[in-house]
Symmetry: C2
Subunit: 417 residues, 2 copies
């Protein structure tokens, strides 16, 4: 089964908005075992949307039209679909009432233009709206189908998950199950990681199932994705488990988590297991380490806070760092100890260094010192990161959290917390 | 003149990579006054790339094929272009030598597969490579043209700027200049902003030049983009100036900057003008306020640091916040004063509130108190933000910086710094 996406919006063509919707839909289609050979992006022009839709429908069994369902005059996907299918639009009065109610529930008046969102392509059924005011559409075309969904990501993703993918899977019939798992790593350059995994990729090449792919994701680390295809979910899961074990045997502790286990969630789990609280002292990262830690839900149970000591005087004053060079292992160690003391935490991490654009204390841009204070012992490390100011701050953040992760792993969880 | 982009890469269709290249090219084409009506994304399959190219060439005067110029067997854009144009590929021996030299300069051996990058579509000319090993191609097709450029953004952008856009402009001949300017705003919901600007949009509707577009950008605020078309750059700039003045008259001080003037850069400029240093005390934002401020280059001149007091005890201990409710105007005010004192800064800002998922101190999720301490006077404000944990933290960050901006604007720059 083949499905194409037609992404609608002049702002996409002009580059004012990067099209993340189509990437998201492409990922979901692939995981459902549905082939996607082409994607078309088209502006807010009725004849051109209709033309793109006809070309797509000629090549594929299903087309998802994404965007152009809003209330304003440049939202014309409904009209264009009707034109391409050679049918009319019918205003659905119960749907007009439904939209009016949605506005009333938000204590707002429905603008007359919103009634356009209740126009239904003749022969189509609505996908009820749950997040926005625009309903989606399922338009059968012989044994093919056209879906229309809103372009707002928050509305689109919910509607595709709830209605479009289930409808596609029903049409596809019994089929292979495709599952994937992401191994998340940090501490190894992409090329080294590639060489380490090369043996596994070669071993899998012949039957090409499961497959392995790489993805560099900045502050989120480097991801290794395993995708397995089988006739049942249990079989696909077993394949993922087996390949994960093979990869972990090769990669060791650079794998810090899987799927949505971000570095801060992993660190949070280890701290909670050990009943420890954490304090941070950070300089070049400006608050990024604290901000990442606070993203973990329930952080208030273990995250005390962070002293962002951008100015050296703050390091000397609040953190008891001895006066002298602040881009140094000694300063990082004093900062980690100072964080524990000032914030009243069991463990402390620190990071200080040169984000650029200029050298500092005669150290080149990218030089970073990190330290972890745990169980009365402080350890520090020096790193040299490539890239611009933003890269260096991001790499510093994930690196110091990874250093803490490894220290925590080496310090067993105590029974009494 | 019409130009289309054909983006090549199975990873784009699968959603493993978001296609930022096409957005970048779209932006550049628009600014050059070249229309772009369609974009096609296609996987690494020769017949399908050739088919997409034929469809694009039928609709447009020029096509930019982006990606698929690498050395591996799935890089087949060269073969597909030759197939679509009905010509052969010619291996260019001087280009093979050039690529070999590039490898030698990096002290690496050229793999035999890299010789494929020296294959030229018959009748085409090379665009010399400056950043990677793959040259680009300019393939004339009657009075139309097909360009091929690498998919690596770092290589693509340089080659498009240096060779593709100049060639397109030469073909376009003397043409209109298109310029745009972004007004960046904060403090007004998108619908209210839309209503305020509606009068200007109506006034411009008839001649549709300049035009006005909206863009919601999370922590970056809401953007209003003016685009003007004229026969000279001076004329286009004058149109932008005039429309900017009209919009500013309507919008007032919700406009905090233009183009790349982020909120933190604007605040940085005002602090430097007034010779003031800044300290932050932040709770639910976890370090995001400090992290944004530290993104401004030269921040060390005025940014002292931030006390991330996630735990209430840190508020009471380090910031002298009186024990009691911490989601309150009083706590925010004490935090702003405490930031100045603890960090030794002239001005202080603070933010405390409920990011969720649960209520806190019986206050609903999204309740936020902010304060600014400046010239011995502390002012606070209460806000209620919608959305999830991440939205609330982002909106809190830009809001407290906007509050500081308005206080600074009301406090004149002193002559003695």
């Amino acid at each position: 089964m083949r499905c194409e996406v037609v992404a609608v919006g002049t702002e996409l063509l002009l580059g004012q908005v990067v099209d993340t919707n189509s990437a998201w839909i492409g990922d979901r289609l692939a995981l459902a075992g549905i082939d996607c050979h082409f994607r078309t992006t088209v502006g807010d022009n009725q004849a051109r949307i209709a033309s793109a839709l006809r070309i797509a429908l000629d090549r594929a069994d299903a087309v998802i039209v994404c965007g152009g369902l809003g209330p304003t005059t440049d939202d014309i996907s409904r009209e264009a679909i009707a034109e391409a299918l050679g049918v009319t639009l019918v205003r659905d009065l119960p749907m007009v009432e439904r939209i009016r109610e949605l506005f009333q529930a938000r204590r707002r008046e429905m603008a007359p233009s919103n009634a356009r969102q209740a126009d239904r392509v003749d022969g189509a059924t609505f996908i009820p709206q749950e997040r926005g005011t625009a309903p989606g559409l399922i338009c059968p075309v012989g044994d093919k189908v056209v879906y229309a969904v809103p372009g707002v990501p928050y509305e689109m993703t919910e509607m595709v998950e709830r209605a479009v993918l289930p409808d596609l899977k029903r049409r596809l019939g019994p089929s292979a199950v495709i599952l994937s798992r992401m191994l998340r790593t940090w501490g190894m350059p992409e090329s080294t990681l590639g060489e380490m995994v090369a043996g596994r990729i070669e071993a899998l090449e012949e039957r090409s199932n499961p497959t392995i792919a790489f993805l560099a994701s900045g502050i989120e680390g480097l991801k290794v994705r395993i995708t397995a295809k089988a006739s049942t979910e249990a079989e696909a899961t077993a394949m993922l488990d087996s390949e994960e074990a093979e990869l972990r045997a090769v990669l060791g502790d650079v794998v810090f988590g899987i799927d949505d286990q971000s570095m801060e969630r992993v660190v949070a789990g280890l701290l909670v297991e050990r009943g420890l609280t954490l304090g941070v002292a950070e300089s070049l990262t400006g608050g990024l380490v604290g901000s990442r830690l606070a993203e973990a839900e329930g952080a208030s149970a273990w995250f005390r806070g962070s002293i962002v000591c951008y100015d050296s005087k703050v390091k000397f004053g609040l953190l008891d760092v001895p006066e002298g060079p602040v881009v140094s292992a000694g300063a990082a160690e004093a900062m980690a100890r100072g964080a524990c003391k000032a914030l009243g935490s069991d463990a402390g991490v620190s990071v200080t260094g040169v984000a650029g654009p200029a050298r500092q204390e005669d150290q080149p841009v990218g030089t970073v010192f990190m330290a972890v204070a745990l169980n009365g012992k402080v350890e520090s490390a020096e790193a040299h990161f490539p890239g611009n100011r933003q890269h260096i701050r991001q790499f510093s953040t994930i690196s110091v959290l990874d250093m803490l992760r490894k220290r925590l792993l080496a310090s067993p969880a105590s029974a009494d917390g």
